[in-house]
């Protein structure tokens, strides 16, 4: 059956985009839709790419762009586990949480179809106050006055930048913007420092993160009601209001669960309220007509690839000892030039300007010691402006 071939192609593309920093599944999707491919075949490729990417994006988040913990305050939790010799545990936590949250999301999917229209009718008129309150909450989680000031500066700077980027004539402008904010800034920071990685040990660990998986599923579902609240790390910040992360594994469980749940309930928002909250679902809606019966095979394909890709991820966790022996400084340097080339090809010289500016903004949280999620002002501020435009 041609669907399985499409799923296989998509899974491979998704694993590739997940492994290589700077290549988002949306980038691959935007290239694929330009090609003359049978729509239903293309639909399965798009969804399998999203699923493969969702699973494998955690690997470079743990192994690549490792900053020096002494000089950079905001080391990601997965990287902190790597620096403690617990990378295999970090990978397995992500895989287990992704699998469990996918199963839970599938079980809650029918309920979400009933709940979404009700919740959206309640939330839609409150979109502007909600986005303002969510932004304020994000900034206030920094707690110290100086850090709140730094975070506000980064948030507003990213937002102003986002407003101009989204209104620029550059093709696919979010690609260089996000690549600079997250991938490029981390890569440059890691090349500037020489970090010795300890020996990695593989130990079983306690399943003490069920509540983080459950919270991830609920938060991922709710995030599909709002525009601009889409990055799992960004959603996880809201969870810090009611969840205490005892250790980095809990945070990884939450973020992985949000990623899987956000994708599955993205179908609910598309079917129930006709809102596509993810790039892959926007592309899917453009190529095939989406209703409940037509969406079900794509949801099953997503779950299938999550299952198979998680098995592949486990293979990598076994190889964690060998992975840390790779000279990541050279690898990161090659990646920097590769990203520059990719941006130049896809977006042209203007894309390089966006990349440079977003890299500078993305480096600010690393050096000012605040959370990097504040750069999501890039999407949130334009969403606030759009929501304000509807109100006033």
């Amino acid at each position: 059956m041609q669907e399985f071939l499409a799923i296989l192609i998509g899974a491979v593309l998704g694993i590739f985009s997940g492994l290589v920093p700077g290549v988002h599944s949306n980038t691959i999707t935007s290239i694929l839709v330009q090609l003359s491919i049978d729509p239903s075949f293309l639909g399965f490729i798009i969804i399998a790419t999203l699923a493969g990417h969702t699973v494998f994006e955690f690997l470079p988040a743990i192994f690549l762009g490792i900053p020096d913990e002494n000089t950079v305050v905001s080391v990601l939790p997965g990287q902190r586990m790597l620096l403690q010799g617990r990378s295999a545990e970090a990978i397995r936590t992500c895989a287990f949480s992704l699998l469990l949250s996918t199963l839970l999301s599938l079980m809650l999917f029918p309920l979400s179809l009933v709940l979404f229209p009700l919740l959206f009718s309640f939330v839609e008129p409150l979109m502007l106050p909600f986005l303002l309150a969510a932004s304020l909450f994000l900034l206030l989680t920094e707690k110290e006055v100086q850090k709140i000031a730094f975070a506000s500066l980064i948030f507003l700077l990213s937002g102003t930048f986002g407003f101009f980027v989204l209104n620029s004539p550059v093709k696919d402008p979010l690609f260089p913007a996000f690549t600079g904010l997250f991938a490029m800034s981390s890569l440059i920071a890691s090349v500037r420092t020489k970090q010795e990685l300890p020996e990695q040990k593989d130990r079983p660990f306690n399943f003490d993160f069920l509540k983080f998986v459950a919270a991830g599923v609920v938060l991922g579902m709710l995030a599909d009601l709002f525009p601009g609240i889409s990055a799992p790390a960004q959603i996880a910040v809201f969870a810090s209001a009611f969840l205490v992360f005892g250790e980095p594994r809990h945070y990884l469980a939450l973020v992985s669960s949000i990623a899987a749940s956000h994708a599955i309930f993205g179908f609910s928002s598309l079917i129930a309220i006709n809102k596509a909250r993810m790039g892959a679902l926007v592309a899917l809606r453009d190529v095939v007509e989406i209703s409940l019966p037509t969406a079900l095979p794509y949801i099953a394909a997503f779950a299938l690839v999550v299952g198979l890709a998680s098995l592949a991820l486990l293979f990598f966790s076994r190889r964690a000892k060998e992975l840390v022996k790779v000279n990541f400084t050279h690898f990161n340097l090659v990646l920097i030039f590769y990203i520059l080339g990719l941006v130049l090809i896809i977006c042209g010289p203007a894309g390089i300007i966006i990349l440079a500016a977003s890299t500078a903004i993305g480096s600010l949280p690393l050096f000012l010691g605040v959370r990097r999620t504040h750069v999501m002002g890039l999407i949130i501020v334009p969403s606030i402006i759009a929501a304000a435009g509807k109100v006033f």
């Binding site: 095979p297 299938l304 999550v306 486990l314």
Partner: protein, 119 residues
Amino acid sequence: MEIDERKTAFLAIFLAVLSLFLLILFISSSKPASVSIAAAQQMPENSPVSITGRVEGISIKSMEYVSLRVCDNTGCITANFHRDVYNPFLLSMGQYVTVIGNVRAYMNAKTLSASQVIA
């Protein structure tokens, strides 16, 4: 409970098998039954249908839309589709094709709005 590699692999295999079963179930139920062209013409508008026949005419209506005349031993029907669905230049007269789509009624004649063409 301790999480080791075996338990994680078991969960992954369980999810993969479950979703594979669901995928096969959803795909087979979402594909319309294959019928003859005469039977397709008797079906009400918007009915999902799959027909197989030989190409008896190809007309490129505009830069974007294609009209395909398909016949079997029970009759002929016109299938209309966007060029993104299938490249019309890859089709030839007399070639056997399967067209999946929905029945449309236009000017007292039944046509197909094709979502998939398999040559």
